[in-house]
Each structure stands twice: as structure tokens, then as C-alpha cells.
Symmetry: C2
Subunit: 203 residues, 2 copies
């Protein structure tokens, strides 16, 4: 089974890389699909699920101080339920066959399946450029920089909540890929070659 | 021209990886050979050159406080000469044809040749295991841990002296390869595939 997980810095093009890599390998790529499936199962909107899965459970408490105890418990229980469901969905997708999974701590969740764990990163300038290119009208550079920091910080917190070691530290991944100053599609042939040889060796 | 530079953490197997990768690609690997050539050119022993090239030039001063001024100046001038010669040797080797160069800030020195810059790393346990396996009799784990720290610290200082950004930070390399818990030779097919596709794309 070829399972490839992709961790990525916000703006590094990790999602595009995952999609293109999966396409080139002829296997599915799961990203937002995971959120959608969890949402459906839990009777929530994808936005609700995304906001929960991007929050560190342990961070819920301070936010609920001052609210009623019931509300606090309810929200936290929901967060745990959603995260547990996400865990289940990721496991089940990976068992169905070869795939690429972007984000969602898949490398930690799928440890027993021995996935190939990639981390995609880039320098600040490249990430900002990429974010600017896809930004909505009126978004300022300053706001984007702030968003980049915020999302990466949340990813780090999520990883910690899952019991994983520090997010983005190269020690957690088999291979770290720098996308600075390159088009994602230019990296695909090398990565496909790497992945094919990697799994050929394991089979 | 295919020039591959390899930065590495002490004990990560970077040297072995460079040698095996070069062998598999059918191109030369330069590592200690650089030191030997510099030594020959400067009329020094390889050990002398190595001790100089592994020292940050700027660090010479504190060591010579209390000695005569002449000795201090002499040593520093020699260090600069040796490092300049090393720079020249690396440039000249890379101009001769495809090659792998391990260490010696080759990624910084060869920037204009657009090398593929790899960084090889591993977790502490794997590095220690590798060091223990090749250690001389009587070397203690404690001593090896200290040596691992010392060498990596010197490499970082050298990189800084060359005007490079922080050593070992993934942003400085195209690809970072984790050797934790694997035999180096097992990684070679994937890396050969990656390298071939990488340069095919550039040609």
C-alpha cells in the first residue's frame, strides 16, 4: 500500500503539490474531502468541522471561561467527537488503497501503515507571493502575513494535541521539500520518481 | 552539469549517502579529497587543513590572546589562505563535470552553478547508533554525544563565516533527507530517481 502524507507550511503550495503528485501517480488525494465526510457523518457544516479540527482541544477551556459550564462541556465534547471521527475517516481512506493525504496529522494517525511522510515548505517571500496570487481583492500583505502565522501556529497546536512532536521539524518527516522560487508542477517528476522508488523498495 | 551538494548532521550518514549516491549515478564524490588537494597546494598536512577549515576564522582571535601578536596574525592569515584555496578547489572540481560534494559549504560556494542542495539529518538516537557503530574502542556514549554537538556547532560557525544563513535550516536546501532508522543504501534508489528527474527537467 502506498500512502503518502503531506504536512505543509501555509502558502508553501503543499496542497497543490499533494494534488499534482496524486494525479501523476494515478491515486486519489484527500484534503478537504476528509472534512466533508466528517461533516456529513456528524451532521455539521464543513465550515464548522474545519473550525473545530483546526483548534487545539485543550484551547477550548480558556475560551469558555465565563460561559456556562454546560456550554463549555458541550463544545469540548463536540470537538473530541469531530476529531475522533476525522481519525476514523483518515484510517478508513488509507485502508481503501493507495492515496495522498494532505494535512490533518495523517502522518501520526497512520503510523502503523508506514506512510511516506513529506513536509512541504518555502521561504517567507515565496509563501507570501503564493498567497498574494490567490488572495481575494483587498487583502493586504500585512493581513496575509498574519494569516500565514496564525494558520501555522494552529497546525502546530493541533499536532501537539495529537501527541505529535513539534510541527514542521524535519525530524518528523522522511523528506522535506522546498518549494521556494519554483512552480509546484516542476517538482512533480522528481517526486514521482522518488515515491515510485521508495515504495518499490518496500514491496 | 549535475552538481549535488550535501550538507549533513554529524552521525547522520551524509558522507556515506554522498558516496553511494555518486557511485549509483556514476559520478565522482568529493569529500576528504578536497582537503587533500588543499593540503598539497598549501604544503600542509591534511590534518592541519582540516583543523583550519573546521574553524571559524573569526574565532582565532580569542584563542591567541596572550600569545605574541605575530603568531596570532600568522595563524589567521593561514586560515584565510586555506579557506580561499578550498573555495578555489571546490569551484574547479565542479567545473570539471558532474559530481557530488559533501560538506565544505559547497552549496554556498557553487551558487552560480545551480547545484541540487541536499541536507541529510537524523534523530539523536539514530545518529548516536551510527557513531557508536564506527567508534573506536573505549569511546563512551557521553563522549560521542559531545563530539556530535561540537562538530555540528563548528559546521554552523563555518557556514556563518561564509556568509550563509543558519546551518541545517531546511530553508537552505532543496531537499532534506531523514536517515533515521534506515540503512543509507536503502535510500539510494529513491534519491537516484529524484536526482535524475530533477536534472532532466533542467536540461
Amino acid at each position: 500500500m502506498r500512502v503518502i502524507t503531506i504536512g505543509r507550511e501555509f502558502g508553501s503550495g503543499g496542497r497543490e503539490l499533494g494534488k499534482r503528485l496524486a494525479d501523476a501517480l494515478g491515486i486519489p488525494c484527500y484534503d478537504k474531502e476528509i472534512i466533508d465526510e466528517v461533516a456529513k457523518a456528524q451532521g455539521l457544516s464543513s465550515e464548522e468541522v474545519e473550525s473545530i479540527s483546526l483548534s487545539d482541544i485543550r484551547r477550548v477551556y480558556p475560551f469558555t471561561i465565563g460561559r456556562t459550564l454546560t456550554a463549555s462541556y458541550y463544545y469540548n465534547a463536540l470537538a473530541i467527537e469531530v476529531i475522533a471521527k476525522q481519525y476514523e475517516v483518515i484510517k478508513s481512506l488509507a485502508e481503501q488503497g493507495d492515496c495522498v493525504i494532505v494535512g490533518r496529522q495523517a502522518d501520526l494517525i497512520l503510523q502503523k501503515q508506514s506512510p511516506l511522510n513529506l513536509f512541504v515548505y518555502a521561504d517567507e517571500a515565496s509563501k507570501l507571493k503564493r498567497c498574494l496570487a490567490r488572495a481575494e481583492q483587498g487583502e493586504t500583505e500585512k493581513k496575509l502575513r498574519k494569516e500565514m502565522k496564525r494558520v501555522d501556529k494552529e497546525r502546530a497546536a493541533n499536532r501537539k494535541a495529537f501527541g505529535g512532536s513539534a510541527w514542521g521539524r524535519k525530524e518528523n518527516y522522511h523528506l522535506c521539500v522546498n518549494t521556494s522560487g519554483t512552480e509546484i508542477k516542476e517538482l512533480i517528476p522528481s517526486l514521482v520518481a522518488f515515491v515510485n522508488a521508495w515504495f518499490a523498495d518496500k514491496e
